[in-house]
């Protein structure tokens, strides 16, 4: 029992932090900077605690007498918890500068963000579909509100409305799928479907397939796969920069946390069917996402479009899982980490600049940026290179593993398409680099703004490069191999089939 409490403590700290922040938001004297610090403090506490638990907890059900097997604690969920916490910490730190320049933020903003993180952490631990749904909704509803947080902006409100309506619509499919599963199996625990089919091999299972497909629809909606992508660009653009960053990097990881668990356990018997569906979705997502990305003039919209393409790469790896690529699932985790680093960095720079007087939104606004802010331009270049999958950045390795798993599972066409799309992505990523470097500007060169935001961006840039070239040669510094190994361990921890 004590052990269980200890394991649940990080979750508790986060939700406690959310409540504390909500309470103190009644006092108007507290400055935004303090809110930010308090939120980061709670998150860091939870992060450190979680870090100590990363290794020694292997597949334990939390409060089993009370909750049965609803919550599971394994390396997989712990790793994802760490990613969410890190994502939230980095998001808050990078936007320190941004918050100070905007007057519509207050304590509730941070409270909601922490609630959302709490929902995501629940999601990664959820071992039961209804729990998963509730967690997903906790996370989502917080994000819905955060998207529309700038009440004065029509765009922001419109984005929130779009997101809520479509999100609600998609969520119905999840609950519908859950209901169908309950109707067939008589249980909603993850793993029960697996054992149900194992025990009743002759039963008609079409209903189950339909149910799983509905659940998949919700997941595909959340990660913005074509044809469920329509919300992505509008919402990303309408949302405030910190929230766009949070959605693109952190929230997407959370969706994969539950989907990977589901897919690796419950979908096992239907891999041949769902691999085909995923292949088709991956193809249209890659192509559609690229089309969306190349036709955007606004940088935020371009990054939104490109995030669809990145979802497409992840779908390639997902379909490879079913076709026997051993390394596909760790590749997904690794890809998520790499995308997190580069996307947070890129959005971070955007939000950092957005805080300045002169807004930069379109590609053209970045003409000659390298002369004005050489260091930021250089870091932006690093992030663009990583997003495009250029060698010596972490993005290259991540793409490499994905394509490797695709080839290993015999999906040569998908691998080829992925590589082609990566070439196309050079167009919109390098366009920014070219504009930054090859055009003159009238602006005076500015000094590098030392501060929390810029330091964290710098750290992200370093990690992006380190992840691309880093090996274990330098002692005490984990190289890429360590990351990959961790991802593998995490996947192995859920592959332990229950019963």
């Amino acid at each position: 029992m004590i052990e269980d409490i200890l394991l649940a403590l990080p979750l508790a700290i986060v939700v406690l932090g959310a409540i504390v922040l909500m309470l103190i938001s009644h006092f108007p004297t507290v400055s935004l900077k303090k809110y930010n610090l308090i939120a980061v403090f709670f998150l860091v506490c939870a992060f450190i605690l979680k870090l100590t638990q990363l290794d020694d907890s292997n597949h334990i059900y939390l409060f089993e007498p009370l909750f049965n097997k609803m919550f599971v604690i394994d390396t997989f969920s712990n790793l994802f918890d760490l990613l969410f916490l890190a994502g939230a910490i980095v998001t808050l730190l990078i936007n320190t500068h941004y918050f100070q320049e905007r007057d519509y933020y207050n304590g509730e903003f941070f409270s909601l963000l922490l609630f959302s993180v709490f929902g995501m952490m629940m999601l990664s631990h959820a071992n039961e579909l209804v729990t998963a749904f509730i967690s997903l909704e906790i996370a989502s509803i917080s994000v819905y509100i955060l998207v529309g947080y700038n009440k004065n902006s029509l765009k922001s409100s419109e984005a929130m409305l779009t997101y809520i309506v479509l999100g609600a619509l998609s969520s119905t499919f999840f609950i519908l799928g859950t209901a169908l599963i309950y109707g067939v199996v008589g249980s909603t625990f993850i793993g029960d479907i697996y054992s149900f089919i194992q025990n009743n091999p002759t039963k008609e299972i079409t209903m189950l397939i339909v149910a799983l497909m509905f659940i998949m629809v919700t997941i595909l909606f959340k990660i913005g796969a074509v044809p469920f992508h329509s919300w992505v660009i509008d919402v990303y653009q309408g949302a405030p920069y910190p929230i766009t960053m949070f959605m693109a990097a952190t929230f997407k990881i959370a969706v994969f946390a539950i989907f990977l668990r589901l897919y690796l356990i419950d979908f096992t018997h239907f891999y041949d069917i769902f691999s085909k569906i995923l292949q088709v979705v991956a193809v249209v997502t890659l192509i559609g996402g690229s089309w969306l990305a190349i036709s955007q003039n606004n940088l935020k919209r371009m990054l939104a479009g490109s995030s669809i393409v990145h979802a497409g790469y992840l779908l390639i790896a997902l379909s490879s899982i079913g076709l026997g690529a051993e390394f596909a699932a760790p590749a997904i985790v690794f890809y998520l980490m790499s995308y997190f680093l580069s996307a947070v960095g890129a959005f971070g720079i955007l939000s950092f600049i957005a805080a300045q007087r002169r807004r930069r939104a379109t590609f053209d606004d970045f003409k000659g940026f390298s002369q004005e802010r050489p260091y930021l331009a250089a870091m932006m270049t690093i992030f663009m290179l990583s997003l495009a999958g250029f060698p010596s950045t972490i993005g290259f390795l991540a793409k490499f593993y994905i394509f490797l798993s695709a080839i290993e599972s015999g999906q040569i066409f998908l691998a080829g398409l992925g590589i082609t799309v990566a070439f196309i992505s050079i167009y919109y990523y390098f366009k920014l680099i070219a504009l930054m470097y090859f055009y003159p500007t009238d602006e005076e060169p500015k000094k590098f703004p030392f501060g929390i935001s810029s330091s964290v961006i710098f750290l992200m840039a370093l990690l992006t490069i380190w992840g691309g070239v880093g090996t274990g040669w330098i002692p005490f510094l984990p190289g890429v191999d360590t990351l990959v190994e961790t991802a593998k361990e995490a996947i192995n921890s859920i592959s332990v089939k229950p019963y």
Binding site: E158, L161, T162, V165, L166, L169, S170, F173, T206, I209, V210, M213, M216, V217, F221, V226, P227, F228, S230, W231, I233, D234, D272, I273, K276, I277, V280, V281, G288, S290, W291, L292, I294, S295, Q296, I424, Y427
Partner: protein, 631 residues
């Protein structure tokens, strides 16, 4: 001894590095010229001493002793090793001794010639690098290391020819030298490649190749021999790859001296001698080499007879003398060939340095018809140049006579009478054009000679004296029995010569013929150019042809350069722009068009978005039904 050998190669490279770095970082020109001079000249002197020590050491032992030195293992693949190793056998020892000796004299001369030049430090860095590269080439224990030296020599010659790179002509000349050399090098590396494959697992040092040469069939060897010789054609300026040599005169005169006397052009002859065991197996290729050699010799001599630029005359004379050397090595008289390389180094260095002194004295005037009666103004230069001219013309007892005589005798004895006749004609022409130059520059009374003379420093003139002594007496080292010598040179370097016994009377007869034709040439030159020579005008068809160097440059330009250029243009303008870019652009435009249509679906209306979502679900359902039914 092996440490000394390593030093011989590495010292010039090291000093080149130090000089180069000093020059690079000395952006404010604070470092004195003296620093460059001292380091740049001291190293060649040191290397010369070391080389002499090595030669003396080898002389004191039996002829089969060699000094070897392994610097490090350069490449190691499985059981196959390539060491950066050096071998000093009599052949390479003789080569390095005169390369370093003459190289040193040229360095001293250059210190005076180049003084107060902007790129003084750079020049000496290149110079030392040139020397080092040549030593690497000569001492290499295997063909691959030799090839590195071979390429380095080509590179440095490019840098030095284009030393005054502000002028377009110099850059063109440097490019020409580099590109023509690349053509030869390409042949060289093909030859090495074939040889490498043929050798299999038997190692790839010269010693290994020599031991296993009998295992390789004759056809392969023929191929290897021809391709290696193509490399030699490029480096040693033989027909058809000679075109770079006259243009290479664009470099400063010490560079010409170094290229023509001590380094670079002799590399080809040396390489053939180094592979003598291989060429002995394929006498047919040897004959081919000899024919190329004698044609080059005659061809260059004809052109030289009508040139009016002092350096160009010397350039063509080098090509001509190189032709003799190839006749020798082609017909199996390797030691005679190397002996001619040896003697030639003395008098050719002397000629170039003398020419340089004249050019300096006349404020960079190179046209001999604008000189004249310099005898009184530059007596020392006149005397030394006169000795050198006698030597190159083959007048006994000067050095050139013995080496040239040995070659022509060999051609006669091996019953290659055509080659012999052509060689003798060339000897006649050589005497003619060399004395023509000498008379016009120093003796003839020119009407238009009003140029003031500049005083020459000692560093410019003293090396001339040393070389003049060499040009006079070096020949006796290789004088054979008939002339009272004992074939010292030949017995020391002990190459796999093909020997013919020859009676003394025949030898005297042949020697007499040589001297006679040379004297004939001298007389002819005396008759026409002693008093008031006229610059040859292109007023007759044949003369026009010769003055314009048989239009070979123009022919190459038409044949290769223009065709290549138009082919490049075709690829650039048509294939690249229209075909490849056109295709890509079309794909891009198509994609952008589709993308804009696809993006226009994003109209911001939630109702529409919901419809997309639901139709997505429907499509997925249809897909599912399809999959399930198929199953």
């Amino acid at each position: 001894m092996s440490t000394l050998l390593l030093l011989v190669v590495f010292l010039p490279f090291l000093s080149a590095l130090v000089l180069g770095l000093t020059y690079l970082f000395d952006t404010h020109k604070r470092v004195n010229e003296k620093f460059y001079t001292i380091l740049g000249v001291a190293v060649p002197i040191l290397v010369t001493i070391l080389s002499f020590v090595i030669v003396l050491d080898l002389m004191s032992h039996s002829s089969t002793t060699v000094v070897t030195a392994v610097a490090f293992n350069w490449l190691s693949i499985d059981s196959f090793h390539i060491d950066l190793a050096f071998v000093a056998d009599p052949l390479s020892a003789v080569m390095i001794s005169f390369i370093t000796f003459i190289g040193t004299l040229i360095h001293i001369y250059a210190a005076a010639y180049m003084s107060s030049d902007q790129g003084f430090g750079k020049f000496f860095s290149y110079f030392n690098l040139f020397l080092g590269s040549m030593l690497l080439l000569v001492l290499a224990s295997n063909p691959i290391i030799m090839f590195i030296g071979w390429e380095l020599v080509g590179l440095v010659s490019y840098l030095l020819i284009g030393f005054y790179n502000k002028e377009y002509e110099n850059v063109t000349a440097a490019n020409k030298a580099f590109i023509v050399n690349r053509v030869g090098d390409f042949g060289f590396i093909i030859g090495l490649g074939i040889l490498f494959v043929a050798m299999g697992d038997n190692g790839f040092t010269f010693a290994d190749i020599k031991e296993n040469i009998y295992a390789i069939d004759n056809h392969t060897l023929t191929l290897v021999g021809i391709f290696l010789f193509i490399g030699a054609m490029g480096k040693s300026a033989q027909i058809p790859l000679y075109v770079w040599l006259p243009d290479a005169m664009a470099g400063p005169t010490p560079v010409s001296a170094l290229i023509h006397a001590a380094t670079m052009v002799t590399a080809g002859v040396y390489m053939v001698a180094r592979f003598s065991f291989l060429y002995n197996e394929i006498p047919q290729v040897g004959e081919f080499i000899a024919i190329i050699g004698v044609s080059s010799a005659l061809f260059a001599a004809i052109i030289a007879s009508y040139q009016s630029d002092i350096k160009k005359i010397l350039a063509y004379s080098t090509m001509s003398q190189l032709g003799y050397m190839f006749v020798a090595v082609g017909l199996g008289a390797y030691s005679a060939g190397i002996f001619h390389v040896f003697t030639h180094a003395f008098f050719k260095a002397l000629l170039f340095m003398g020419a340089g002194a004249v050019i300096i004295a006349l404020h960079h005037e190179q046209n001999i018809f604008k000189m004249g009666s310099l005898k009184k103004a530059l007596p020392l230069v006149y005397i030394t140049m006169f000795i050198a001219t006698l030597a190159i013309s083959g007048i006994p007892p000067f050095a050139g006579f013995f080496s040239k005589d040995a070659i022509l005798n060999h051609a006669f004895m091996s019953e290659h009478y055509t080659i012999w006749v052509l060689g003798v004609i060339t000897a006649f022409l050589t005497a003619f054009y060399m004395f023509r130059m000498l008379f016009i520059v120093f003796v003839a009374d020119m009407k238009n000679n009003h140029i003031e003379h500049k005083a020459l420093s000692k560093a410019l003139t003293y090396p001339l004296i040393v070389l003049a002594i060499g040009a006079t007496f070096a020949g006796f080292l290789g004088a054979n029995e008939a002339y009272g010598g004992s074939d010292l040179f030949k017995s020391f370097i002990s190459l796999n010569d093909i020997n013919y016994s020859i009676s003394h009377s025949t030898e005297y007869m042949l020697g007499f013929v040589n001297v006679l034709v040379s004297l004939l040439g001298v007389t002819l030159a005396y008759k026409y150019f002693r008093t008031s020579p006229q610059e040859p005008l292109p007023n007759k068809r044949v003369r026009t042809l010769i003055i314009n160097k048989f239009y070979v440059d123009e022919l190459y330009d038409r044949l290769f350069v223009q065709n290549l250029r138009s082919l490049s243009n075709f690829f650039n303008k048509t294939v690249d722009e229209k075909l490849i870019d056109g295709f890509i652009n079309n794909v891009v435009h198509l994609n952008l068009y589709v993308a804009s249509k696809f993006t226009s679906l994003q109209n911001g209306k939630i109702q529409h978005y919901s419809i997309y979502l639901l139709s997505g679900v429907s499509m997925m359902s249809l897909l599912l039904i399809y999959i399930l039914e198929v199953r």
